[in-house]
């Protein structure tokens, strides 16, 4: 029974069997949105820390901006260890702490050197960090980025989600090829703009598409896995020895990564803990271990286990972290295009910083675009200013400072295997009271240490460590 089209003329509403009134003025106003021109000056690919900082700054600066996110909502696909730095965030959105969804201001940072059963700890606590402007916060990216995306839309940017940028539109000129927009996976998916900011995160396909970066090797990338474990607020404050609302971070080195080049972490949120490990992919694949196994072993460590007792795992997350360092940073600009954040390999692995470099790079890229708009020139001649700004900022200065760190730690496993063990041995000897004179203890420690690794080798390691990190 083919009822459709029984009346062939029944195609438009004028001939509808129910007459439709003329639309009211209010309805006509409502219809105007259809005529919004699809013209943008800047397209930002990816609503993570870099993309949001860029889009927010651009919109505030009066640049017509389209922000394209592949997830259901900004933040839905964003993962990090869980620390947001106050200063660089404040530079993008001032006094953000007054309204942003944050977990706990961090008042104490601890570093744990883990050996089999024991731990050598150092730390710094200052209640002054519990006051404005704060130092850093534990956060959930999914909540924070959603909030920041709303601010970005309020500032005037257009946000679309569930859309993947697959390629660029180019403008071919006699002497050069300029990026002139993007292609998405949607129907009629091409959209033009003067400049595109690539903020799509690690392993950026678009950066490779432009030929600015070659395929990354497993030695340039770390994989981070993380769990969110629920605990009552009071239990967190008791176990971590802080006042109500205050937070702690712990970085764990050594046994936490089974001696591999990497780091573990535990951060306190309001009523959960973020616990995770990050390990270089090449080392992980050589060990044949699954990253979840590494995390599971760290959770079972006698120093870690009591912190987690009774907790219920609420979430598992994983992320690729670009740890290639200074030497792997691609060319950061070209005609009509800029690269920010993880896509540009802007990660300081030594200080577990990434989101602050991402936000700062996004902001500097946006400021460069605002100037380019004034000049009316989006060629690489103008956009190179972005690179110069980054070079003058802590972002490239820090990466430059640690340019050899990755090579040192990749080539010298002792920092993650032998030295934590020696630290444990020395501390244990020193703290054990057994009527042996302190002088004899020192001799014993010295003997043990030098028998495990020659004194000249140790001296060499320490010199290189100092040269690399100092």
């Amino acid at each position: 029974m083919a009822l459709w089209g029984m009346n062939a003329s029944f195609k438009n509403r004028e001939e509808s069997f129910m007459t439709v009134q003329e639309p009211t003025q209010q309805q006509l106003n409502q219809e105007r949105w259809r005529d919004v021109p699809l013209e943008f000056e800047a397209i930002v690919v990816g609503a993570g820390p870099a993309g949001l900082a860029a889009a927010y700054t651009l919109a505030k600066g009066g640049v017509k901006t389209l922000l394209i996110e592949r997830g259901d909502f900004p933040g839905s696909k964003n993962v990090m260890g869980g620390i947001l730095y106050s200063y660089p965030t404040h530079q993008v959105i001032s006094d953000f702490w007054k309204e942003a969804p944050l977990e706990r201001p961090i008042v104490e940072q601890r570093a744990w050197l883990l050996a089999e059963e024991s731990v050598v700890t150092i730390g710094f606590k200052d209640p002054g960090f519990y006051e404005e402007p704060y130092n850093n916060f534990s956060v959930f990216r999914s909540r924070f980025d959603r909030w920041m995306a709303n601010k970005t839309v309020e500032a005037g940017a257009t946000l679309i989600t569930e859309t993947v940028v697959t390629d660029f539109l180019f403008e071919e000129r006699a002497d050069r090829r300029k990026v002139a927009g993007v292609v998405t996976n949607r129907d009629h998916g091409e959209i033009r703009a003067q400049v595109v900011l690539i903020c799509e995160g690690a392993n950026s396909i678009l950066t490779q598409r432009l030929g600015l970066q070659e395929d990354l090797s497993p030695g340039d990338l770390a994989v981070g896995v993380k769990e969110v474990i629920a605990l009552p607020k009071g239990a967190i404050e008791d176990r971590f020895n802080v006042e109500k609302g205050q937070g702690v971070t712990i970085e764990l080195i050594g046994e936490s990564t089974q001696g591999m080049f990497g780091m573990g972490w535990i951060y306190t949120n309001k009523d959960t803990l973020s616990i995770g490990v990050g390990v270089m992919i090449n080392q992980l694949s050589r060990s044949g271990m699954n990253p979840n196994t590494v995390l599971e072993k760290m959770k079972q460590h006698p120093a870690v286990r009591p912190l987690l007792t009774g907790g219920e795992t609420k979430e598992y997350l994983a992320k690729i972290i670009p740890e290639g360092g200074y030497h792997q940073v691609p060319k950061l600009y070209d005609h009509g295009v800029l690269i920010c954040g993880d896509a540009a390999m802007l990660v300081n692995g030594v200080h577990r910083e990434g989101s602050n470099l991402a936000m700062t790079s996004g902001k500097l890229a946006a400021e460069t675009v605002i100037e380019a708009k004034k000049k009316g020139d989006f060629s690489s001649v103008t956009l190179k200013a972005y690179h110069d700004r980054l070079q003058d900022s802590f972002v490239l200065k820090d990466l430059k400072k640690y340019e050899n760190a990755s090579a040192l730690f990749q080539s010298n496993p002792h920092f993650f295997t032998l030295y934590p063990k020696l630290a444990r041995y020395s501390a244990r000897e020193l703290f054990t009271v057994d009527n042996v004179s302190k002088k004899d203890k020192q001799k014993k420690i010295w003997h043990e240490v030098t028998s495990r690794r020659g004194i000249w080798n140790i001296a060499g390691d320490m010199y290189r460590l100092w040269r690399t990190l100092g």
Binding site: M1, A2, L3, W4, G5, M6, N7, F10, K11, N12, R13, E14, E15, S16, F17, M18, T19, V20, Q21, T24, Q26, Q27, N29, Q30, W33, R34, V36, L38, L66, D72, F73, S76, F140, S142, R143, V153, T158, L159, I160, T163, T184, R186, D187, H188, G189, E190, I191
Partner: protein, 272 residues
């Protein structure tokens, strides 16, 4: 054909948890989506409009954040979106909700006639399947639930023919328009909005109606107008796994004997 689609913004159930103490849904921090059945209702409305012309209006009742769902509906191709939001609406059960939605639809019909209202068969958070039927009965319109297919519409006679899912199979029904239809997922495949529509939808100015516009009886709204209370909510116990008699362990005749021995105590055999 002017069509209205009622949408509900619901928490993404893949992430929903129930607070064991208060027996309420824990919605904090959980992303919201359009109730999936309602998206199929919208898709069907768009398909009918594309063939017969007319307008598709989407309505939702909820907090201001529900605007996101309405914009999404606009990006799929809806012509118009109305948000019903008022503190007085908060805490409405299905009785009060259908009262408010019916009131809003009546208000809409003062502006343009409606031929069809589409709803999802139920919402994935409450699973009541009462609001669609509640609206139909308040409007005095015929109701067709669990529709799997719209066979067609006979415009001259104002007749629609649909297939309904029923326990023993399918039922083909013809019905006078205007009518209210609730749909199941099998009815269609959801379209993927083209990029220009997506971008324009981001700028769509959603029309907002409060009770000032609707003028509904305050005693029938929100908590006041909701006689329902939740006594208990919980997860049903997992069904126990059935016992398996592996044929490889024993000979088939032996397996049959064991099976018969197990079954006989459960079967009431009439005395002869």
């Amino acid at each position: 054909m002017n069509i209205a689609v009622c949408l509900k913004q619901v928490p993404d159930t893949s992430e929903v948890r129930i607070n064991p103490k208060t027996n309420t849904l824990m919605r904090e921090g959980i992303p919201s989506i359009i109730n999936p059945y309602d998206v199929h209702a919208l898709e069907e409305a768009l398909t009918i409009r594309d063939r017969l012309g007319g307008r598709v209006t989407v309505l939702t009742m909820g907090p201001p954040q529900a605007t996101d769902s309405l914009r999404k509906a606009i990006s799929y191709g809806a012509d118009h979106a109305i948000l019903l939001t008022d503190r007085a609406f908060a805490g409405s059960d299905t009785l009060a909700t259908s009262y408010i939605l019916a009131g809003a639809l009546n208000q809409l019909m003062n502006r343009e006639p409606l031929d069809l209202i589409l709803c999802g068969k139920q919402a994935i958070d409450g699973d009541t399947a009462q609001v669609g039927p509640g609206i139909a009965s308040r409007l005095g319109w015929p109701l067709l639930t669990y529709v799997t297919k719209v066979d067609g519409i006979e415009p001259t006679n104002h007749v629609i023919q649909v297939q309904r899912k029923i326990e023993v199979g399918r039922e083909v029904v013809r019905c006078q328009l205007p009518a209210l239809i609730t749909v199941v997922k099998e009815i269609n495949e959801i379209r993927y909005a083209p990029l220009p529509d997506l971008i324009r939808a981001a700028h769509y100015p959603v029309e907002v109606w409060t009770n000032a516009e609707l003028g509904l009886d305050a005693s029938q709204l929100g908590l006041k107008g909701s006689p329902t209370w939740v006594n208990k909510i919980g997860t049903p116990p997992l069904r126990e796994k059935g016992e398996v008699l592996a044929g490889s362990d024993v000979a088939p005749t032996e397996a049959a004997r064991i099976l018969a021995d197990k079954l006989i105590p459960h079967i009431v055999v009439p005395n002869r």
